[in-house]
C-alpha cells in the first residue's frame, strides 16, 4: 500500500473520529445544556465536512500516482 492509499485510510479514520466527537459532544450538550459542548459539536461536524472536501482534493491532485 502506497502513502497515497494509506493517507486515504487515515483521512477516512479522521472523518469517523470527528463524526464521533460531534455526536459525543451533542449528547453531552443534551445532558448539560452547556453551550460549550454545542459549539464543540458544530466545530467537529464542520471538520468532517472539511476533511471530506480535502480528501476529494487530495485524490484529484494525486490521480496520476499509483495506490500500490
Amino acid at each position: 500500500m502506497s502513502l497515497k492509499a494509506f493517507h486515504i485510510v487515515f483521512v477516512a479514520a479522521s472523518v469517523i473520529l470527528m463524526a464521533f466527537l460531534s455526536g459525543w459532544s451533542f449528547l453531552a450538550y443534551q445532558d448539560t445544556h452547556s453551550t460549550e459542548y454545542l459549539v464543540w459539536s458544530l466545530c467537529a461536524a464542520s471538520s468532517v465536512v472539511g476533511l471530506v472536501i480535502y480528501g476529494r482534493f487530495f485524490l484529484r491532485k494525486l490521480r496520476n500516482i499509483s495506490f500500490l
Binding site: 500500500m1 502506497s2 502513502l3 497515497k4 494509506f6 493517507h7 485510510v9 487515515f10 479514520a13 479522521s14 473520529l17 464521533f20 466527537l21 459525543w24 453531552a28 445532558d31 448539560t32 445544556h33 452547556s34 464543540w40 467537529a44 471538520s47 476533511l51 480535502y54 487530495f58 491532485k61 494525486l62 500516482i65 500500490l68
Partner: protein, 282 residues
C-alpha cells in the same frame, strides 16, 4: 555488488525493498499497540463495579482535558497532511515546497510533544485525597507554597512524606463537582481552595500510574506513542536537512525514503486517532 530493488519496484510484487520492510515493521507495531489497547479494555471491563469508573470521583471520565486532546489530534492530522504534501511535492519535482511541508510536519510533532508534556505536568500535580470522614477530594495541591511538578519526582507527595516533613496542613484547589459522565455539574462552583489538615487524610496520591490502573495504562500508551512521535520527528527532520543531499545523487530513492517515513508517520497518527476516543471520550 549492487543491492537490487532499493528504489525500483520488484516486477512480481510491484514493491521496492524499503516498502516491504516498513510494512513488516508496522505489522509488529500493530501487535504492540494492539496488546496495550487490549490490556486497557480488559482492565476496564473486568474492574469491579464502582472501581472503574469510580462513581464517587467520576473516574475515569472527566480526568483528561478533552479540548487539549482534541487540539493535539488536530495538530497530528495537520502533520499527516503536510507529510503527504511533502512527498507529493517531490513527486512533482518541487524540492523547495517539500522542505517547507517537512518543516511544518516536524514543528507539528514538537508542538504535539510540548502540549502532551503540559498535560503530563497537570496530572502529576493533580491529587486524589481520601479523608477520615469517607469523603474524597480531587484537585491540585500546594505544600509549603509549592506545587509538585512532573519533571521533579522529589516534588511528589505521599502521606508518609508529609509526616516526615512535619507538614500539618496542605492547600487543595478542589475540582468542580462532576456528574457520573464526568461533565461538570450544573451550577457547580469552579475551582475553590480549601485547607486540609494532614491528620484528616487517609490516603493521598497524584494522578500517576501508581494511583489507578487507568493512569498506568494511559501513561504507558501515551508515553510509548510520544516516543514514536519523537523518533518520527527526528527521522523526518533528518530527511528535510542533512539527508536531503540524496535528492541530487539519487532522487528516486530519496522519494521512496520520504514515502516510507510518511507511512510510519501516518501509522503513528492513526494510533492517536484510536487512542484519543478510547482514553479521553469513552
Amino acid at each position: 555488488m549492487e543491492i537490487p530493488y532499493t528504489y525500483k519496484a520488484r516486477p512480481d510484487t510491484g514493491l521496492y525493498n524499503a516498502k516491504v520492510g516498513i510494512w513488516l515493521f508496522l505489522a509488529s507495531e500493530i501487535m504492540l499497540f494492539g496488546a496495550l489497547f487490549s490490556a486497557y479494555i480488559l482492565l476496564r471491563v473486568s474492574a469491579p463495579l464502582g472501581f472503574w469508573p469510580d462513581v464517587a470521583l467520576a473516574w475515569p471520565r472527566g480526568l483528561l482535558n478533552i479540548p487539549i486532546g482534541t487540539f493535539n489530534t488536530a495538530v497530528l492530522i495537520t502533520s499527516s497532511v503536510t507529510v503527504v504534501l511533502a512527498w507529493a511535492a517531490l513527486k512533482m519535482n518541487n524540492f523547495a515546497r517539500f522542505r517547507v511541508y517537512m518543516v511544518i510536519t516536524v514543528l507539528c510533532a514538537f508542538a504535539f510533544l510540548g502540549i502532551k508534556s503540559f498535560e503530563y505536568n497537570d496530572k502529576f500535580s493533580h491529587y486524589v485525597i481520601r479523608l477520615q470522614d469517607g469523603k474524597a477530594l480531587t484537585g491540585h495541591i500546594e505544600v509549603d507554597g509549592k506545587h509538585p511538578r512532573f519533571w521533579n519526582f522529589s516534588d511528589q507527595w505521599s502521606l508518609a512524606k508529609l509526616a516526615d516533613k512535619k507538614v500539618t496542613k496542605i492547600k487543595v484547589e478542589v475540582d468542580p463537582e462532576r456528574d457520573i459522565n464526568g461533565h461538570p455539574k450544573k451550577g457547580a462552583s469552579h475551582h475553590h481552595e480549601v485547607e486540609v489538615a494532614v491528620s484528616d487524610i487517609v490516603s493521598l496520591g497524584s494522578y500517576t500510574p501508581a494511583t489507578h490502573p487507568f493512569f498506568a495504562v494511559y501513561f504507558l500508551i501515551t508515553a510509548l506513542h510520544g516516543l514514536h512521535v519523537l523518533g518520527g520527528a527526528l527521522v523526518l527532520g533528518y530527511f528535510a536537512f542533512p539527508g536531503a543531499k540524496m535528492w541530487k545523487s539519487n532522487p528516486e530513492q530519496f522519494i521512496n525514503r520520504i514515502e516510507v517515513g510518511g507511512l510510519f508517520w501516518h501509522f503513528v497518527d492513526l494510533v492517536w486517532i484510536f487512542l484519543f476516543p478510547v482514553v479521553y471520550l469513552l
